[in-house]
Symmetry: C2
């Protein structure tokens, strides 16, 4: 199988479709184009008009300040992207909100039998839908460590782009092929300014990152404080360490043994900044939160494997209510005018 | 001992000092004066000028709308109240925030050896400081069921005033005297519009009310939703019932057996209103919350008695962080400009 569609292409560059041009996705598209081997087609919604006209403006710790950037192709729907395909890779870099939108259904029109799907998203269990709906396609995992935000077409990229790319095991495809497709993406992405590496153990990387994401993100979001204040006021001791130990216990029940010292590593990873994690920023903006893939799926694995995780469970149940409140505020759900009560 | 100072007084009315003229306290002072046997001296702070000049304006489900009310004496400090004493009863109807203010220290100048202290406040363990600092005085418990709010001197009293008055057992004083002092206050307070009863079992009443207060109040405050939405979105099942069962377990370990059906009673007690409990209202206003007497003391009793209460513990730890955030916003605490981190 020749997986590399681009070799047949007129200009020999690899064609990549990118959906989700937030802080992470826009730097990903910049990285791919900067490395010189890729033509990125970017699907934009709210920023479409502005970026089509003026491009993204970017201040980047990796690439420099005052940059203006237009991906090779800019479209406003996946349907419209098809004229720039077929795509060797389709990168999803949106927030992962399976209870709201199936991103796999969104990208489906752009998927061919040779397309690899790249999920640059947080959480556990995010690959299930892609593997179910596209059982013959390679599905890649992107675990991103980056500080970057999109403010209406302007990107502030504050901490370096470090991306681990691996593959979610698909038993319908040979491991050697999955590995080759994965390593090719690493080759397309890495350049002299960023750090992109092949991830030998996707499961390990995802559980490891979850130690931070399932604990510091939700607790800061629920309490409305940054990580520095949380620590000063005792919350790191009273909540975070206990919740992180629960993540380690679930990971272990799922076959992943994380070293104990990952707890202190994650707690110290924002030193010495009064850092506001992304879920706190989203909560303050009354945006939807990635609670199902960050907390819901891990808690369900814990339940299945009979691991007792009271901290994660209760934090999850509280955030589910916050999520419903946000959905009501956004008009996505309604409640009866009269409160329903038992007869 | 003649506990009734008022009999020696020129006009024979009982002298009561009231501190904390919010929604609960103002209706209490109205009730006492309305019954005709009491002269209330009210200590006001933020409403002092307005009430001195124009009185409270009151819309009351018990007493009628469009009322104007001035307590017999209005002062702006406990020190200034002393000229209207000595007081037979000193009623504290403030929010109970022992980590912020010792109300017992505040009222101390007005306490004589014959003064009974009446705590019309929520929570568990609220009597400790009074019994320690005034070991020879009767300390009464007021458990209030009322819907009433003070908005800058205007009182909206929406659900009936039901008050249970008992005594916190004080081994230095005979039970018969404590009971007599307590029943006399019931007699002073009750009138043809309200329901004030003698509370035979203060401990039972306080744990019973805590089933509501330690669960619905904090969870609504943390999630930002009213009780109706909390129920529709699953939080009553996933959080409230479990937390309420924990309150029952702590109460049991403290010698109080509450009937199981109190859980459904409390859950249904606001039907059919999309009711916003007071702690949610306070959280929205960024006011301090009564977390220590509502959650902290019960959680500490659970710890002492080895009762496992994960829901209450985690909710308490989360709210402690929210409380610190509020204290910082109010300028009551500060954090270092540079985030302290380990060397």
């Amino acid at each position: 199988m020749n997986n590399c569609l681009c070799d047949n292409d007129m200009d020999s560059k690899c064609k990549v479709l990118l959906v989700g041009s937030g802080g992470v996705g826009t730097i990903a598209s910049y990285a791919l184009e900067y490395a010189g081997k890729t033509k990125v087609t970017s699907v934009l919604r709210s920023d479409y008009d502005r970026v089509l006209e003026k491009g993204f403006s970017i201040n980047s710790c990796d690439y420099g300040n005052g940059l203006i950037f237009k991906p090779s192709n800019i479209v406003n729907s996946v349907e419209a992207s098809k004229k720039h395909g077929p795509f060797e890779y389709v990168v999803i870099a949106t927030k992962c909100l399976p209870e709201v939108t199936s991103m796999i259904d969104v990208i489906a029109p752009a998927i061919t039998k040779d397309t690899a799907i790249v999920l640059v998203q947080n959480g556990i269990g995010i690959e299930m839908e892609a593997l179910t709906k596209f059982p013959e396609n390679v599905v890649l995992s992107g675990v991103s460590m980056i500080g970057s935000a999109n403010m209406g077409g302007h990107i502030e990229h504050e901490s370096p782009d470090m991306l681990r790319i691996g593959y979610f095991e698909n038993n319908n495809i040979s491991q050697s092929h999955q590995e080759a497709v994965c390593k090719r993406f690493v080759d397309l992405y890495q350049n002299d300014k960023n750090q992109c590496v092949y991830d030998e153990d996707v499961k390990f990387s995802r559980w490891r990152k979850l130690v931070y994401n399932a604990c510091l993100n939700p607790v800061c979001a629920l309490t409305g404080v940054d990580i520095g204040r949380l620590e000063i006021w005792g919350g790191v001791d009273s909540i975070i360490r206990k919740a992180m130990r629960e993540v380690l216990a679930i990971a272990k029940s799922d076959g992943v043994v994380l070293p104990e010292d990952v707890i202190e590593f994650m707690i110290r990873s924002d030193d010495p900044v009064y850092y506001r994690p992304s879920m706190l920023v989203d909560a303050d903006k009354r945006n939807l939160l990635e609670i199902e893939v960050i907390l819901g799926n891990p808690v369900r694995i814990a339940r299945k494997n009979k691991v007792d995780v009271p901290f994660l469970t209760i934090i999850y149940e509280l955030l589910k209510i916050v999520q419903s409140r946000t959905m009501e505020e956004k008009g996505m759900i309604t409640i009866p005018k009269e409160r329903p009560v038992p007869k």
